[in-house]
């Protein structure tokens, strides 16, 4: 089996890319939002200033139309206009008899030709300009102070905010709002001429975005989140690899054991086959020699030699078997010690808990805590109990989940203690029951047929026994009998 694992650098690198991409998107979105807000503000600014310009045009048009006379000084329009409109610094009136200085006169002539107000000059440094409209009998001119014309009440931007607003006329410009100055970073800009032919000023709105205004908090939060995710995924991957590796090791170990077993079987087959071959050949040769009906009868000397060789080869085979037994037999003197069956059973059930739960097996324990201690080798005992419970679980796989019951009982029986493992599975087939403890006998697909055989050997080695039978109600019952650790307590009086 080949496990394809992601390289370790995947999550950190992916995280880095994701962080950068996300940050770029956040910045871009932030910038877009700021630009949209800025554009809206700039549009409002342009509209408000254009309205003011239109108002100036309307004032002049009204003056020219109504021709308020210069009869009374008290009714002089400039005083009244200036009172109502703070931006009007001065109203100039020229009757037929008067003449205006050159700039005004030139503008008046132009106004007469265009039939609309005309700018007669602008002092952008001070934010003042003069509008002229020719009329009969009198022409009028307004000196406007732009600073007073700004409708701060409706202004969309804070006066001391970061946005710089100015009115440009030719090369000169008058600053409405100084803004925050030219910071490093981005610069937003909106330029538009006022919607007035008489006041050809361009509204210029700029906004400098400083490094400090970037959405640092959100960026930081995003990066931290991505880093945490990458770290979590890396850890998860590492953990999964570790789990997989240990599984692989386990599997390898099993395969290794099976291979070793196969090698052992092959070697054994050869070691035993050689004497068997010689034995068979010799004895069959002897038979043939005896059957030989030649003139001078069978060659008895050769027959004798053949039979002697056969016998010798039989002894050789027996020796091979004995050597093998010595090789694989566990030490005779098992290191027995007093043990509580309850401890062993609980430890085995703990080990097999995943299988027990997965199969939904109902487990019942009886008498384990009250049973006397047994004299056994802890490893061997655990091996036996593990095999018995494992076998029971395998048998239970053959019945429906609601009928899966596992019952483990312990009870004293004279000098011994009996541990019984019962399952509600299909039980042993009659033939299988007879051969249950036979090595290499198995009813399980792919089973080695050594489990129960080994258990019996281990039990016998510890001075105990292992018995198998079917319960009356069906299901297998395995009984392990082990010597009791403490001497039998005197019968109660």
């Amino acid at each position: 089996m080949v496990y394809r694992t992601l390289p370790r650098w995947v999550w950190p690198t992916g995280g880095l890319l994701l962080a950068v991409a996300g940050a770029a998107w956040l910045l871009q979105a932030d910038l877009a939002a700021r630009r949209a807000a800025f554009d809206t503000d700039a549009r409002i600014v342009h509209r408000l200033l254009s309205q003011q310009a239109a108002q100036h045009d309307a004032m002049l048009a009204t003056l020219t139309l109504l021709q308020p006379g210069a009869a009374t000084a008290s009714s002089s329009p400039e005083t009244r206009l200036a009172a109502v409109y703070p931006q009007v610094l001065q109203v100039l009136r020229r009757s037929d008899s008067e003449t205006w200085p050159a700039p005004l006169a030139r503008a008046e002539a132009e106004s007469a030709a265009l039939r609309r107000p005309v700018l007669a000059g602008a002092d952008m440094a001070r934010g003042q300009f003069t509008l002229v409209q020719a009329g009969t009998p009198a022409s009028f001119a307004l000196r406007i102070d732009a600073a007073a014309a700004v409708p701060w009440a409706d202004w969309p931007l804070p006066r001391d905010g970061p946005v710089r607003t100015l009115l440009r006329h030719g090369d000169a410009s008058w600053v409405l709002q100084p803004g925050a100055g030219e910071a490093t970073g981005w610069r937003l800009l909106a330029e538009k001429r006022l919607a007035s032919d008489s006041q050809p000023f361009t509204v210029v709105v700029t906004r400098a975005l400083g490094i400090g205004e970037l959405p640092w908090a959100r960026l930081l939060l995003w990066c931290v989140a991505v880093a945490a995710a990458a770290a979590a995924l890396t850890a998860w991957q590492r953990q999964r690899e570790t789990a997989r590796r240990s599984q692989e090791l386990l599997r390898l170990g099993q395969v290794g054991r099976l291979n070793a077993l196969g090698e052992l079987a092959a070697g054994m087959a050869h070691e035993i086959n050689q004497p068997l071959t010689a034995m068979l050949a010799s004895t069959q040769a002897a038979q043939r020699l005896l059957d030989d009906t030649d003139d001078d009868g069978p060659d008895l000397a050769t027959v004798r030699r053949a039979l002697a060789q056969g016998a010798q080869q039989a002894r050789r085979a027996a020796e091979v078997v004995a050597r093998l037994r010595r090789l694989v037999q566990p030490a005779d003197t098992a290191a027995t010690q007093p043990l509580r069956l309850a401890d062993t059973v609980h430890s085995v059930l703990y080990l097999l808990a995943p299988q027990v739960e997965a199969a939904g097996v109902q487990t019942e324990l009886h008498g384990l805590d009250d049973a006397p201690a047994v004299l056994a080798d802890p490893v061997a005992l655990e091996q036996i109990v593990h095999n018995l419970v494992n076998n029971a679980l395998q048998a239970l796989a053959a019945v429906t989940a609601d009928r899966r019951r596992l019952q483990i009982d312990a009870a004293a029986a004279g000098d011994s203690v009996r541990l019984t493992v019962r399952d509600s599975g299909p039980g042993f087939a009659p033939q299988a029951l007879e051969r249950a403890f036979e090595p290499f006998f198995t009813t399980r697909e792919g089973g080695l047929g050594l489990g129960l055989s080994l258990c019996e050997s281990l039990a016998t080695g510890m001075g105990g026994t292992l018995a198998a039978r079917n319960q009356a109600a069906g299901g297998a019952e395995l009984t392990l009998t082990l010597p009791r650790a403490a001497p039998v307590a005197p019968a109660p009086a």
Binding site: A266, A269, H270, N273, Q274, P275, L276, T277, A278, M279, L280, A281, S282, Q284, A285, Q287, R288, L289, D292, T302, R305, A306, Q309, G310, Q312, Q313, R316
Partner: protein, 209 residues
């Protein structure tokens, strides 16, 4: 041919060697036991009639390797393989390598002896076949070109008269050639002649065609 067939028995186990040798001897076959495969390869008589019994599992040179070496050297003795635990792959390899038989140890006497006798018979037949073949070739080589032409037409089923017409010879001349070639080829009858030489004539004519 005048000797009893010789069975070469190659197995590193002395007991197996002795037992099998004894068994094989009971049917009147001579046995030559070999303990070492290399010694066998170096020393056995390649001309003798017989067969070879090879154990698959031997230290140093395994039976399958010996089998391959024999085939590479063009040895024609049939080989019977013996193995303690044969696998399908091993069996396939053995037959691919030209083994006549593949038997499992411990082998039953009848099975082994039948296999050996069949192998020996096969060997004898193939040797005879080879010898007859060689003899016919030698005799055929003695014919004159004209006699070969006449032989080709005889084998083709033509009568003397037809042969004379085909080769622009008088029937008497054809008759004389005919008598000569029968004598040279040592064929007592027309049927024998055709049986032994038809193939040779055909092989000879093929390159010219």
């Amino acid at each position: 041919m005048n000797q009893t067939p010789l069975i070469h028995l190659v197995d590193d186990d002395p007991a197996v060697r002795d037992g099998l040798a004894l068994l094989i001897g009971t049917v009147g076959l001579r046995v030559m036991p070999w303990a070492h495969p290399q010694a066998f390869l170096d020393g056995f008589d390649r001309d003798a009639i017989g067969a070879i019994v090879l154990d698959v599992r031997m230290p140093g040179l395994g039976g399958l390797q010996v089998l391959e070496a024999l085939r590479a050297q063009g040895v024609d003795q049939p080989v019977v393989m013996l193995t303690g635990h044969g696998t399908v792959a091993m069996c396939r390899r053995a037959f691919k390598g030209g083994a006549a038989e593949f038997l499992e140890k411990p082998v039953d006497d009848q099975q082994l002896l039948d296999a050996l006798q069949a192998a020996v018979r096969q060997h004898v037949r193939s040797r005879q076949h080879h010898r007859a073949d060689r003899e016919a070739r030698e005799r055929y080589a003695q014919l004159s070109p004209r006699e070969r032409e006449v032989l080709g037409l005889i084998v083709g089923g033509l009568t003397n008269k037809e042969i004379g017409r085909a080769l622009a010879l008088s029937p008497r001349t054809v008759e004389s050639h005919r008598a000569h070639l029968f004598g040279k080829l040592g064929a007592p009858t027309l049927a024998q002649l055709i049986l032994r030489y038809a193939q040779l004539v055909e092989d000879d004519a093929a390159p010219d065609a």
